[in-house]
């Protein structure tokens, strides 16, 4: 197992740096004022939520092809982080919507498809939690992830045809754009690191379960539940 300690120490330092950039370097937007600063957080976690879904689907497909448990670990870790990010996307988006549009929620395409994605994540977790056999759990999770990845673009397309268009990023001040990119990169790096650490933990839990089975002891680690 590779040692991720240096990464685990360095990457979280990116976040305070990003915060500093957001609050001190990025200019305040003309129309919405200070509230616009939520943008940096919202876009970052939204992107990470989507990337988590893609990662989960890709690793699920690889698990079905190769049947190595390592792929299932990455898929599970991506799913957990992706769901966390998806929840944050909905919450920060809702807070921003309340300030910008005066409503907590509206059935805009992006919001609807984000909510659908969140529900799909939650469904996958529930199903995984209900299966004891690790191979069956991995296989079911992988199949559902693949279906989710195929489905989310369709939801985006359908809702875009259904209602108007979510406010797309308008022309931004170059400094704002730079800060946004830096924040997205920082958050992505942080969540990738978290995913790697969680993978390592899942591998260790599997190892403990193996030892338990060998020694005929049950501490309740057999099969890490999502």
């Amino acid at each position: 197992m590779r040692d991720h300690t240096r990464l685990a120490v360095l990457v979280p330092c990116l976040l305070p740096a990003a915060m500093a950039l957001i609050f001190w370097v990025a200019p305040t937007e003309a129309t919405m004022g200070e509230v616009q600063k939520i943008l940096y957080l919202h876009v970052s976690v939204a992107w990470c939520g989507l990337a988590g879904c893609l990662g989960m689907g890709a690793c699920g497909a690889m698990y079905l092809a190769r049947r190595r448990t390592a792929w299932d670990h990455v898929a599970q870790a991506s799913a957990e982080i992706g769901w966390l990010c998806s929840t944050l996307t909905l919450v920060t988006g809702s807070l921003w919507a309340h300030e910008a549009w005066g409503v907590w929620w509206t059935w805009e395409p992006r919001l609807t498809s984000s909510f659908v994605l969140w529900l799909i994540y939650a469904g996958i977790f529930l199903v995984r939690a209900g299966i004891d056999d690790p191979h069956r759990r991995a296989r079911t999770g992988a199949l559902l992830s693949v279906m989710a990845v195929c489905d989310v673009p369709l939801v985006v397309v359908a809702t875009r045809w259904f209602r108007g268009v979510h406010p797309v990023t308008p022309d931004m001040d170059p400094r704002m754009r730079a800060v946004l990119l830096a924040t997205v990169a920082g958050f992505t790096g942080f969540f990738v690191m978290l995913t790697l650490l969680r993978c390592r933990q899942l591998r260790a839990a599997d190892r403990v379960a193996e030892l338990e089975a060998d020694l005929d002891v049950d501490y309740g680690f057999s099969g890490e539940r999502a």
Binding site: M19, L41, L84, L95, A204, E212
Partner: protein, 49 residues
């Protein structure tokens, strides 16, 4: 400005809760791993006799 702070605070709280859960689970795992490895050692010592 309150809304911005609330948003960042919620994000920080959620991520910290998740990381905290990972840390607690890691500690539990390490304890069990050590316990199992010492049992395994006992077993192999007894089998060797």
């Amino acid at each position: 400005m309150g809304t911005v702070i609330a948003a960042y605070f919620i994000a920080w709280a959620a991520v910290s809760a998740y990381v905290g859960r990972l840390v607690v689970f890691s500690r539990r795992l390490t304890r069990r791993m050590n316990d199992l490895q010492s049992r395994e050692h006992e077993h192999s010592v007894m089998n060797a006799r």
